[in-house]
Symmetry: D2
Subunit: 368 residues, 4 copies
């Protein structure tokens, strides 16, 4: 057993939205901690909620056997459990009253004798972890983002599984589009960053890809559909990030909204775009919102491998006194950055990204 820098018992939690590969991280951390370093590992339930409510249980090696292929997280997760601003009650009008319950969290950490915590999550989780770190809890972060938009890391687990799910759906839709001579508008996850739409769109040979980083012109999009129709290619595959925006922003959005139900209540931009394209071009169009299928399922092999490596690296940092850091991949190498350095930032698709260029070169339009 190695020197563990005074660490004997660690906690591990997963926060935020679902992401394939979480269990690979949990498995790597748990197995390595127990078998190699003789530590005790406690699974904290439902992200920071488990720390707030003091719900956690000891993990044995056996508990993480056979979870490598499972989507989701065996620890559960929660989306809105920020100890610094936790809804503990409701006022007379039904609005939540927020409270800083960090003292309660610190109490539970002390009571359970957790010497350190591995926090797996996104932007929000890392903000909470950095808070805890400032109060003296040794934390280490593992980045999780289906959108691949976390700062400072080129890639993390989950992204390629989501790309695969989206691409397989686009492949299916392709055959229907070409048989029916239709414009197919497919909405892909990505509120601020278009990585998922870009990668799956290129992989599926989409004709148009609309991403938040490149505001689009509806006229340009319609012209692609018309031009393809004129050239005898009587179908168009259009991939759109949920956060894609028309040029000029609000104004054009208004026009969009006028001829259609409210896009927010509709649950997506795809049906609105679809209606507009059909109105403008006269071409039969259909919309699909891929939705939650993109977040789940058996992780593809590369995400199991990445999850394993990120988990291993997290423990490595912890046992080498490198607390309050986040594991990241930079220039294809695992390294780390301070936990707080990712808070409130997003890694967007840069205008000169080589994949954008390659996509444009093969004829993909970005509607600009």
């Amino acid at each position: 057993m190695s020197n563990t820098d005074g660490i004997h018992r660690i906690g591990i939690l997963t926060g935020g939205g679902d992401c394939p590969g979480l269990n690979a991280v949990i498995r790597a951390v748990t197995k390595t901690a127990i078998n190699r370093h003789g530590l005790e590992v406690w699974g904290i339930e439902d992200g920071f909620l488990g720390l707030i409510r003091n719900r956690m249980h000891r993990l044995a090696g056996e508990d993480v056997s056979n979870i490598l292929t499972q989507g989701g997280t065996i620890l559960g997760t929660s989306n809105k459990a920020n100890p610094a601003r936790f809804a503990t009650a409701v006022d007379g009008e039904g609005n939540p009253i927020f409270e800083d319950v960090t003292p309660r969290v610190l109490e539970h950490v002390a009571e359970r004798h957790l010497d350190a915590i591995v926090c797996i999550g996104g932007d929000g989780t890392m903000t909470c972890a950095a808070d805890l770190a400032r109060r003296g809890v040794r934390c280490v972060g593992v980045p999780k983002t289906i959108d691949n938009d976390l700062m400072h890391t080129e890639i993390t687990f989950g992204f390629q599984t989501a790309v695969t799910t989206a691409t397989e759906a686009l492949d299916r839709i392709h055959t229907t589009a070409s048989s029916h001579h239709r414009v197919m508008v497919v909405e892909i996850m990505g509120r601020n960053a278009g990585w998922l739409a870009l990668h799956s769109g290129v992989a599926a040979g989409a004709d148009v890809i609309l991403i938040p980083e490149i505001p689009f012109e509806l006229d340009a999009v319609c012209e692609v559909c018309r031009e393809r129709s004129r050239r005898g290619k009587a179908f168009t595959i259009l991939v759109v990030s949920e956060g894609a925006k028309p040029k000029g922003g609000q104004q054009v959005v208004e026009r969009v909204i006028k001829t259609s139900p409210d896009p927010i209540r509709l649950g997506g931009i795809a049906p609105v775009l679809c209606r507009r394209i059909e109105d403008e071009t006269g071409l039969e169009s259909r919309a699909t919102i891929l939705g939650h299928v993109q977040r789940g399922g058996t992780p593809v092999p590369v995400d199991r491998v990445l999850g394993t490596m990120f988990g291993h690296k997290a423990l490595d940092l912890l046992l080498n006194g490198r607390h309050n850091e986040l594991v990241v991949m930079q220039q294809a190498k695992l390294t780390s950055v301070p936990l707080e350095s990712v808070a409130g930032k997003q890694r967007l698709v840069p205008a000169d990204h080589p994949l954008l260029e390659a996509a444009r070169a093969v004829g993909t339009s970005f509607g600009d």
Copy 2:
């Protein structure tokens, strides 16, 4: 070369919505007709539209090589090309003016010297084919339905691919549901028949399955979610056919509509149901509409086999003087019924179907 009953040149067309396995039928008919019987095969483009517009081309064996694994149809299809009632113009208010263009079709059939036509399609296509047959064109039908709701045939190609696509999506959603402790409402194709929701729901171990044949009570559905939550299973997978209806029909629909946007404009019942369940139970809920992905993609092996067998049988009928019949599978054997016998009917899930019983026995609720 065999005796071909005076048939030397056949046409083949695919009508209606997309369905995996269409190309397997086209391949089987074309290869068998050419190699075994020395016939000429003409591919009619975009279903009956190709007959109306006289657009067709000769198929060589080479043209159907490597199409067995492709979704869609190499011949194209159309949804609304009924020769007996074809929109040929528009009136002053923009409404279509319909005309019987069957004489035009008969002319094109004669001009192209088509001795017979293989029509692959659903209810609507078979109605058109029966019309043609009455006017003296030798037709034979191959049933196509993603919903598996065509009368007189237990199964046809495409259904198992759709079940597989839907089940894989449910499998993905399952892991997210359990990690997030959510109610996941997933809408599956099926306006009148619940076969697809039933099979994929059972295959994915859904907790609730709502199908058109069994009107549901919202209270019963909510109670399942609450009861699971009480028993510590903090998630529920709910599969709903697009045509599922609440008990008492319109009245309860009104209630549903009152608290939500119009379900038709929303494009589905799932978001409405989701909202209602969340309101009633306080459990976090999410909706997904699978949509067009269910109709496309590489056919699963059983659908390639079924397509091949149905295509082979169609030609067999044609060359044995059994015109104006539809290939069907009954008691696990290929046989045929008159073309017109399927028009306007639907094969629904009977109340005593053994799969319903088996599903109820393992604890699945049908909301009744």
Copy 3:
């Protein structure tokens, strides 16, 4: 709770080779027995070995949650545990000494108060079950066969998963074959029956399919490869059942053996055939033996549905006094036959099977 015909506690076991869908049966039987009928269910470990060694454990509903998508069997299985002839010792030369340990089994059944046993397995398992039945133990059988060769049932779970695995492998190999202009010989499971090779071969559009039921001529096989090469199709996909035999049997096998290592020690007929074809035709050839991948993995949806229905039916038989019967599918309906009626028999591909005919019609050679 229903009348259970004096049955309060049942055992369940899985015997023989692996087969996707076993867990679906276990789940259906266990959930139905507990929730619907208030029975106790005991999981017998490793097939009849668990009855011999008295190893079994009580199953709760919880134990069968989340197993629907898992290949294999949570109960374990064994291939060679026939109570009537069980190897209990070894003689001086290392050969096993067999003993009838049925009395021991009956003792354990009595001791554990098992009122009935659900036996899931193939030919061998049913023989053991029929033996037990004759000694007064109430048994009911659920057929399991990856090869689809059990008498009296048209289909059972596992087969379509194996077909899918084999077809996906053939699809992969197809692209390599055509890029490299090679003859690809792929060996598929099936010692006595060619169902698996036939279905996957047709689904993948194989050029040649060799099955045990149709002895082949090497010359005919080589001629297909040569003829394709002459026609400019510079590749051939050849699917061969492990039990395929040349015409004239042993004699031609000898010739095969003479120019190659012993096929049995080689682990397959494919490498031998491959060598022979390359020698005869001068065309570059490669062999692949798919092997055990065909038996494992997540069951495809239809196999989960079939497993659920077969399990439900088994319990139904048991609780209605229909002991010592085997669930079967006949003419697309679930029914049952006496347990002993399947022993020692095999359902082979009949010479006039419509799929054989359809395959021949599209140009597939069976080497005859």
Copy 4:
């Protein structure tokens, strides 16, 4: 249209073994060359063989539509067509007589007015390309290797598809292994480098991974199986690269060979290892050789993206006067190295690779 540096017509060829993603490269190069730069593109058939035999055809944009999802190469390939040493005749004893046919190649290049050639291939193809380059033909290389063992590039297309195919097979085998309590030995491609076995082994949670870079001890391997059996885990998944070697090399190999048929004639190390483990440990063992399925099939999305980017970069180099270079990925960025710098070298798994460490930490044995 851009300045194309005096290049008006380019050739493109694919050499060596099959690899998913080749068509993505061909599509990217062809579409970009035609649409963006107004070049003419000629497809050279079957790798360097097409240059030797003067077989090539003009490619239109249409020819590369719908090939993104196809495995293999639409141009065909060949394994043994080195112009510098080409078998042009056979001597009296049937041995090939080699000749330098480069002059013939140069003639064909001139005759066809090819201003430059994009060569997609591995080590061997790049050696031929470098030869041509030295004779004055402008060449640019795109690396292709299923094994991921080409020098100077961290990754290229095809590898992740192969990892996925291998991992899916291992996932299937896993369930059978655990149900049957068996040792499953699975042979994965990789003669000199273990990348494929390492990545798929880690992704599938293999218990033992044997790679060429780490000579193994049979005793250590057997001990893992025994130890797992003692701990109640009655199965072991063992992944072995085809090029894995026992410590001490030949001597131990002899021992292996003595008790089994010749491993080379057997087609693999897996059956030999399997036999040895069964003999030593008494645990039931089974071998599977995955074989050619690893090279084919629809490329996974990341390989379609990589193929597109590598193809785009190749053309970019060509049109910017950077001839005789090879596109490579270094530190997650596309760049290039001289063509000849990869000849005869291999990128092996270094002893301190972080994935090796992470795998060891979770308990994987490398048999050393």
